[in-house]
Symmetry: C2
Subunit: 390 residues, 2 copies
């Protein structure tokens, strides 16, 4: 059981009436705080504010809303986010600059403060009345299921818990960050270590997924470590550091998979295993190009083993590959090798009907590899996104 | 009337029986030849062969098939393409290395030589019996209409004609080249000039379009200039060079527009006018990012003036833009300016129902600009590409 974190949700009617759209995460003690935010040059007001506040490495609370991104809302957007924090600071009696803000939803419409402000007292009063899962539900937008992952780890004689909560289904192509994700742990971590491990684990998890190639203005991952498990604070060379990192990777990996699995309109989770690259960044570049190819994604939606589209994507990735050195397999069946088709597509048809597909690519250039998650692209994706505002 | 070029088409049954799928362009005299080919690292056999042959700057014929790309077909693919040329060379009595080959269609399946070879004698015999439009029809794959553009230009006392024929509707994101396009002119051009002007005009036309962000393995643009108009050969500093360049640009621009207008499943041609960039490559980078954003393309399919998705795309383009300096308009209505929404979307709704949409973006960073064509993305695109092989 995660120690010392309480959750609350309420209904502010931000976009639609009658659904929980406002959530609060409250740590009983000041937590060591690290964050990674969108690298999109256009940053939402809550991103600008939280990035500034988290710089001091200490936070007590995160308030998050769905239904409105508070992005491209100018000075009013920043003032609104500050006001939200100030009101909660007064009610909760915690320093204003230890409250982090996150928002997700439509871009370019000011937050409806006339509905949000009156909901804050109830939000504050509710702390502890709901679970992390309820909070995960309150931050859903086009998500079809709440995303939460948890792992317990033994650090010497102490047991620590890592709980991750995320949202995201569209505008997913985190470059150096991701959609909203809050990682909470009762482990004690030094600030320096929490920053380093968060960045490193994100590079292996959230940064290797794509739904549609579009990077959001609101991407945010926050790690709060309140130390209530009572372990000796972990630092980069702690003997137990590897165990914590493994747990954190598990939680972030699970959340990443869930985001892609819930990709707007998606029916299949596609895992790309890319190997034989000269460098890791080369591996990621090729994998990302395949992952974002509309032709690859639509072929798989139609259960077509069209490896020609995969090799065309590899060829335009910018990496100087040689056709003769490339091997491509789908669900373990080798389809292209040594410059020629193997004509084994018939072995595949049934397995492509499943809801998970694995693509194996070897570039034959070196020993670096990566794993990348994407999803298929269906007519439903177009329907969802053609009717978003209406 | 274009002088000295003859066309032929026939039915080889390459992918489907009973439709013209093989075409021949024959110049009565050896033509000055320049070509630009896909920069995809994976190149189809006809691309490899034609690129080699065009290096000497002289060609008599182009043979082109639809229904099969002859890409990723290894050594057999190259042999097949060579054999195709050799047979035509024998029948037509022209040098083998003056015959260029082009193919378009599915990747990874060998050319059905048992059906293609017997069709070649009839193809050769038919030269002159059909029009350029018939040839444009024979090279269609998922295209819904044939693409042809023509312009007459007066060069001093001579009238020259430039005729362009193209195909393409999907896997369209030419980087340094484009889909299949054959530009024929009876003007006389020096080889050096024909290479330079083709490259420069392509950079302003075919290289500024996208349907789905996927670059083909078969992209080819060939310019044949047979000189039968009798003008003094044009070179880079000819006084009449500008007139020819203008005509060539017109033809390439028209074909580019047609390809995007015929984008798979597309219902709208979208023109992005990008200005206020520091450099031209910066302008192209931002325009291309908007053009390839699935969220922008699906919003416009749904006639939603979702400028938030446009600014999110601008922000992830890699150009260090500032939100306050960006202006965004759609169909001439300013929607975002000085960091805030103008709330004028209501003025737009009707005009978004039309089949052409213009997006104006100013970055406020400098004086460079570009024009980029893209199209909306509909459920029909997914349907077409999920059922391509079957």
């Amino acid at each position: 059981m995660l120690k010392g974190f309480r959750f609350s949700v309420t209904t502010a009617g931000i976009k639609y009436p009658g659904r929980n759209d406002l959530g609060l995460i409250l740590s009983d003690t000041p937590a060591t705080a690290a964050g990674v935010f969108t690298k999109n040059r256009i940053k939402a007001a809550p991103v600008i504010l939280s990035r500034k506040r988290i710089a001091k490495g200490r936070a007590r609370a995160i308030v998050v809303n769905s239904g409105n991104a508070n992005a491209c809302t100018g000075k009013k957007g920043l003032k609104d986010a500050e006001m939200e924090g100030r009101i909660l600071s007064d009610i909760l009696g915690i320093p204003e600059n230890e409250i982090l803000i996150a928002s997700t939803g439509v871009i370019g419409i000011p937050l409806p403060m006339e509905r949000l402000e009156p909901a804050l007292p109830e939000l504050a009063r509710g702390a502890g009345k709901v679970s992390a899962l309820d909070l995960a539900r309150a931050i859903m937008t086009t998500d079809s299921f709440p995303k939460i992952a948890e792992r317990k780890i033994t650090l010497g004689k102490k047991t620590v818990t890592i709980t991750g909560i995320a949202k995201g289904a569209g505008m997913i192509s985190p470059d150096m960050a991701t959609m909203l994700a809050f990682i909470l742990t009762d482990a004690a971590l030094t600030l320096e270590y929490s920053k380093a491990v968060l960045r490193e684990v994100i590079d292996e998890t959230f940064n290797l997924i794509s739904v549609d190639g579009d990077t959001s203005t609101n991407d945010t991952v926050i790690l709060l470590a309140n130390g209530m498990a009572g372990n000796t604070p972990l630092h980069g060379s702690s003997p137990l550091e590897k165990a914590f990192r493994k747990g954190l990777t598990f939680v972030c990996e699970e959340l990443s998979r869930m985001i892609v699995k819930d990709g707007e309109g998606a029916t299949k989770l596609i895992t790309i295993h890319l190997k034989g690259a000269k460098t890791r960044s080369e591996a990621v570049r090729v994998a990302r190009t395949i992952a974002n190819s509309m032709l690859v994604k639509t072929a798989l939606a139609g259960t077509e083993p069209n490896w020609g589209r995969i090799i065309a994507a590899i060829g335009r990735s910018g990496v100087p590959v040689r056709e003769e050195s490339i091997t491509i397999s789908i669900n373990g069946i080798e389809l292209f090798r040594k410059g020629a088709a193997t004509a084994k597509e018939h072995l595949l048809r049934d397995s492509l009907e499943g809801d998970e597909i694995s693509i194996g690519v070897s570039l034959g250039r070196g020993r670096q590899a990566c794993r990348f998650y994407t999803c298929d692209m269906t007519e439903e994706y177009v329907r969802i996104n053609a009717e978003y505002l209406t």
